[in-house]
Symmetry: D2
Amino acid sequence: MEKIRIGSIGVGRMGICHAESVAYRTPDAELVAVCDLNAELAESTAKRLGARKFTTDYHEIMEDPDIDAVLITNTSAAHCECIKAACAAKKHIFCEKPTGINFEELNAIDAAVATNPGKVIQIGFLRRFDKSMLDAKNRVLRGEIGKVVKVKSVTRDPGKYREYFDKFLPGSGGIFYDMNVHDFDLCRWFAESEVKKVFSSGGVYAFDEFADFGDLDANSVTLQFENGVMGEAEGNRLAGCGYDVWVEIVGTKGSIDVKCGRNTFVVVKDENGIKEEGCPWYWERFGDAYTAEIVAFVDAVKNGKPSPCNTTDARRAVEIADIAKKSYEQGVAVENYHLFG
Amino acid sequence: MEKIRIGSIGVGRMGICHAESVAYRTPDAELVAVCDLNAELAESTAKRLGARKFTTDYHEIMEDPDIDAVLITNTSAAHCECIKAACAAKKHIFCEKPTGINFEELNAIDAAVATNPGKVIQIGFLRRFDKSMLDAKNRVLRGEIGKVVKVKSVTRDPGKYREYFDKFLPGSGGIFYDMNVHDFDLCRWFAESEVKKVFSSGGVYAFDEFADFGDLDANSVTLQFENGVMGEAEGNRLAGCGYDVWVEIVGTKGSIDVKCGRNTFVVVKDENGIKEEGCPWYWERFGDAYTAEIVAFVDAVKNGKPSPCNTTDARRAVEIADIAKKSYEQGVAVENYHLFG
Amino acid sequence: MEKIRIGSIGVGRMGICHAESVAYRTPDAELVAVCDLNAELAESTAKRLGARKFTTDYHEIMEDPDIDAVLITNTSAAHCECIKAACAAKKHIFCEKPTGINFEELNAIDAAVATNPGKVIQIGFLRRFDKSMLDAKNRVLRGEIGKVVKVKSVTRDPGKYREYFDKFLPGSGGIFYDMNVHDFDLCRWFAESEVKKVFSSGGVYAFDEFADFGDLDANSVTLQFENGVMGEAEGNRLAGCGYDVWVEIVGTKGSIDVKCGRNTFVVVKDENGIKEEGCPWYWERFGDAYTAEIVAFVDAVKNGKPSPCNTTDARRAVEIADIAKKSYEQGVAVENYHLFG
Amino acid sequence: MEKIRIGSIGVGRMGICHAESVAYRTPDAELVAVCDLNAELAESTAKRLGARKFTTDYHEIMEDPDIDAVLITNTSAAHCECIKAACAAKKHIFCEKPTGINFEELNAIDAAVATNPGKVIQIGFLRRFDKSMLDAKNRVLRGEIGKVVKVKSVTRDPGKYREYFDKFLPGSGGIFYDMNVHDFDLCRWFAESEVKKVFSSGGVYAFDEFADFGDLDANSVTLQFENGVMGEAEGNRLAGCGYDVWVEIVGTKGSIDVKCGRNTFVVVKDENGIKEEGCPWYWERFGDAYTAEIVAFVDAVKNGKPSPCNTTDARRAVEIADIAKKSYEQGVAVENYHLFG
C-alpha cells in the first residue's frame, strides 16, 4: 500500500480541518474524495485540496474501492449510520466524537464494528494526541511517578462566549456529555481502569439562561476507578482568563502537571503587576492535536497498529457522563453496575 | 491597657515558637510567664525570653491577675481542660488545634466559652494567617472573582518522611482529622457557608504500614456547601517533590491560585531540563504565618476585635472530618444532618 | 488583483517551508512556479504543491509576466544576483537573510531596489513576525512601558549540536554575522533608532575547535543607540537546556519579557525537583513565524503596505555585526561613523 | 569561648535590624552593649534587647575587654574611623557597606586591618548571604553549569519611590557607587576573578531631577574579567512592577537564574489576564539575608573561619564603580590598570 487514500465525509468547520490535514500535513495519505450535503462546498473543497471526486452522497464514498479510509466528520446525528455503512464497506474509519448519541446507537455501533475486523476505527478524542498529554502519558507508562494515585482533569471554557454558548449548547446534551466527556476520557486513559462509582456536584452559578435548557454552567465529578485510582473531572463555562484546561496526575513517587499555556510568551511587568495573557480558546491550545490525531490514524492504518482511541473508549466516556448526570440529579454516589450491571 | 501580658502553657516544639513570637516579634505583647511540665525547660525559657514567672502548674498562670491572655500549646489531650480553666479565669485564649479530640470535649468547650463573653478565643488554623491566603481571601471579599463557585485545597506531605510518619501518625486520628482538617477549614473560610454533604475516596497507595494503624496515605473529599459552593479537599503523604500545598478558588468572573512556592528563587537550566527545588516542608511555606497568627491574636485582644478563627471554626472542621471518614467507610455520600440533625 | 501569483526560487530546507506556506497556508496567494537547480526536486515539488511551472533557471521565473512575486530562498551566494534580476523584472521580492554577503553586494542591492519603486521587498528576519515579538512591539508602540530605556536580546543555541556546528559554522561568517544579526535587528526594531557605538566581549569558552575557524562560542555586545536607548545582544552555542532565546524591553514605566517557552506544557514534580523541558530548537520556537512572515509579505503586496522588514533593515544588521566584530578584535568601543562616516 | 559577645554601634534603621538579629536570631551570640549618638535610643534599645551596657561613645565599646566583636552600623562617614578603632582594639568587626567613601579611607582601612590579624572583618554585601544566591554559588562551585561564561546582575528599584529617591540619592555617590556596587560584587563573586576592562552606558530617561544632582536613573555596565568571564551589571530606579532584582550565571554546560520572586504566592486569573504582584522592595526580597549575614559573621568568629566578604571585596566593588563611572563620562572602555596600575 502506497499512500492511504482517504474520503472525507462532511467538510464543515471540523471536517475541513481534517481534510486539510490529510491533504497538506500527512505525507502518508492523500485526499481522494470529498462529500458534503452542500454540493458547491464539496466541489470547491475537492478542487482546492486536489481530491479527484466530490459528491453529496456518502454512499458513493463507501462504494468506491479505491478509497481505503473515511473521515466521518458530518453532523453528530449521522455518525451512527455512517459508521455502519463504512463497516459494511470495510473501510478504515476516523469518526469525530460523539459516535452515538444514545445507548441504542452505541450498541449498534459496537455490533457494526464487530463485523469489520482488522480495520482501524479511531474516535476523535483529540486531547490524547496533544504533545503534552502524550508526553505525560509516556512518563506515566515509564513509571516516572510510580503508581497512579489520582487523575484530575479540568476544562473551563471562556465565559466571554456566553452568547455563543446560549446558541450552541441547548442541543449539546449538556455539560456532562458535551464537556466533561473529554475529562472522563483522560481520567480513564491515565488511570488505565474502568469507573466503578461516581459522585457529581454542580449548578448554575452565573449564566441563568443555562437553567432554561436544563444545563449547568459549572460542575465537579468525583470518580472511583476499579483499580483504586481516584479521579476528578471539573468543567465550567465561566473562565475569566480564557480557556483554562489542565490535568494533574498524582503518583506514588511524584506528580505531573499538564498546564494550559498562554496566548504568547510575553510577560508585562508594570504598576499593575506581572501579567500574562491566558490561552484564548481550544484552537490555540489543541490546534496541533487536530493534525496529530489524523497523522496517528494514518499511521495505524498504514502500519497495522491498533487504534489509539476506539469505540469502546468513546462508549465508556458516554457511560460515565450518564452516571455522572444521574448522580447529580439524585444527589447520591452512583455505582456503574446500577446502570450496566 | 499597655502591652498584652501573656502566659505560655507548654513550650515544646510549637509552644516555643509562639512564645518567641510574643517575646520578639509582637510589639504589643510581652511574655510574662512560662509553664511547662518540664521544670528546667520552663525556667530556662522564661529566663531566655525575659518572662518574670515560670512554673510546672498551669493553674498558677490562670490565677495570676496580671496575666491577660494565655497560649495553650501543650499536648492536645490537655487542651480541653486548659480552655475550661482559662474561661473560668476570664483570660483571652489562643489554643493550638485541635481544641477537643472528641465531641464530648467539643461540647464542653462550647459551654465553657459561653461563660467567658467579651474575651478572644482564637484557634491555631495558621493557614488563614498566611500572607498569600489572606491576600486571596481579601480579593474574594472584594469581589475580584465574582461569586465563589468552587474551592479546592490540596495538602501533600513529603513522602520522604515516611519513617517519621510511621512514628507520629498512629496516634494522630488519621488523615481526615490530622491533615484534611486544614483543607476543610480553608474551604469553609472561602465558601463562607456550612457543609451539607460529603463524599470521600482514598486508600493506601504506597505506604503499606498505614493500613496497620487504620489510616490512608492519600484521599480526596468532595464537599457540597449549603450555598451551593463546591469544595474539594485532597491530602496525601506521598509527595515526591517536597511539601506540595496549594489552593484554588474558582469564581464566576475569575479564579485565584495560591501556589506552594519553591525552596529558593533558583532555576537551573541544563541538559536535564529547567529545574527548581520544591518547598521542603511546612515551616518553609508557613513559617511566617506562625508569627502572623500571634500578632493577629494580640491585635484582637488589644483592639477588641472578634476572633479571626474561633471554637466554632475548630468544631466545624472536626465535624467535616467525621462525616468525611464516615463517607469513606460506607462508600456513600453523607449528609451533615445524618450526623448532627 | 486576485491571488498573488508567486514563484519560488530554491526549494531546499528553508525554501520548501516557504513554498508550502504559499500553497497551503496563505489564502491570498498561490504558488505558480518552482525553480531549483535540482530539476527533479523542482518538478516533484511543483506537482505536489499544484504549481503550473517548474524550471532549473530562475530567469524563466523572472520573465514570466504572470508571476507577481518571487521568493528568493536559494543559496546565500546567489541572493544578490537574484534580487537584481527580480528588481529588473519589477517583481515583489521576499528574500531570505542575508541579502548580501559583503558591502559591495549590499550597495548593489540598494541600487537595484531603487530602480523598483512601489514593489515590496521583504527580508526574512522572521523573529519580527513571531506572535510574541509582535505583541511586545505593539505594546511598546502603544506606550505600555513608557519610553524604551534598554533592549536585551539573547540567542543561545543548544550545545548538544556541537558536531553540527563544526560542520556548518566554518562558512557562516562567524557569530556576529550569523547569530547576533537577529539580536541586532530586534534591538534596532524595538529601539527605533540607529546604533552609534558598540562594545563587544567574547571568546572560546568550551568548543575549542571554534578557534580553528576563527569564531567564538559565546559573546556579548553592548549597543548605544542615537536616541539614548541601551542595547545588549548576547549569543552563545553552548546552551545546556536547549534553545534559549529571549528578549527583554525595559521602559520608563514597565518592562516586557518575551520568554523562550518550553518543549511541552508538562511539569514533572518528583524527588529531583520540579522540572520542565526546554525548547528544543528554533523550529519549535519560531516555526509559526515562518508562515507568518509569508502571510505578511502577501498582505503587503496585495494591500499596498510598506515592507515590514526591508533591505535597509538587512543592511543595518550587517553593519552592526561588522562594528561589533571590530570592537571585539580591537578591544575598544567602536563608533559607527568610524566605519561608515 | 561560649557565646560571642557583641557590641552594636549605631542602632538606626539598619543597625537595629542587626542588633535584633544578634539578640533574637543568633543563638551563638549575645548582645552585650548598645551605642548610639541618641542616648535615649541607646538606652531603650539595650533594655529591650537585654544588653547590659549602653553609651553614646563608641570608644567605651572598643575599650570593653568583655566584648568580642562589634557591629559598625552607624553613618557611612564614621565607618573608617570606627574600623580603625576596632582594629586597634583587636575586635572582630562587622561593618555595613560602604567601608570607606574614598580611596584615602579605603587605603587607611587596609592598613588598619593588616594590624588586626586573626580577627574576622566582614562587610555587609548581604546579597551573598541570600539563600538563593548561596545556592547558586554552591551549584557553580560544584561545577553544575561547567565553567562560568557570563554573569549578569540586575538591580531595579521601584520607580514609585521617586520622591524618596530625590531626597535620599543626592548624597549617595550616584548609581555606580550606591546601586551597582551590589551587582559588581556579585559578578566578581561568581566570576572568581578581577575586572580588567569596563564599558558603561546610561543616562536620565525619566526622572529629570536626577540630572540636577549629577546622577543617572538607568545604566548598563559591561565587565571583562581577567579570566575571560563576561559580566553585565544593570541598574535603574524606574521599575514599574516593584523591586526587580535578578542574576543569571551562564556556564559552558548550563545556566542558573536567580529570580526576584513575588509579593505573595497568589495568581489571579480574570478578564485582564493572569497576574501576580511583583516583589515590593528590598526587604521582602532580602530580609532573611540580613539575619543570615549576622549568623555567618558569628559563625566565622566562633569557629575561626575566614570572612565570607572582606575589605578587599568591599574595595574592589568601589574600584569597579569608579572605573565604570569614568567609562560613562568618557564614552570609552576603561582598563583597570589605567586607574590602579
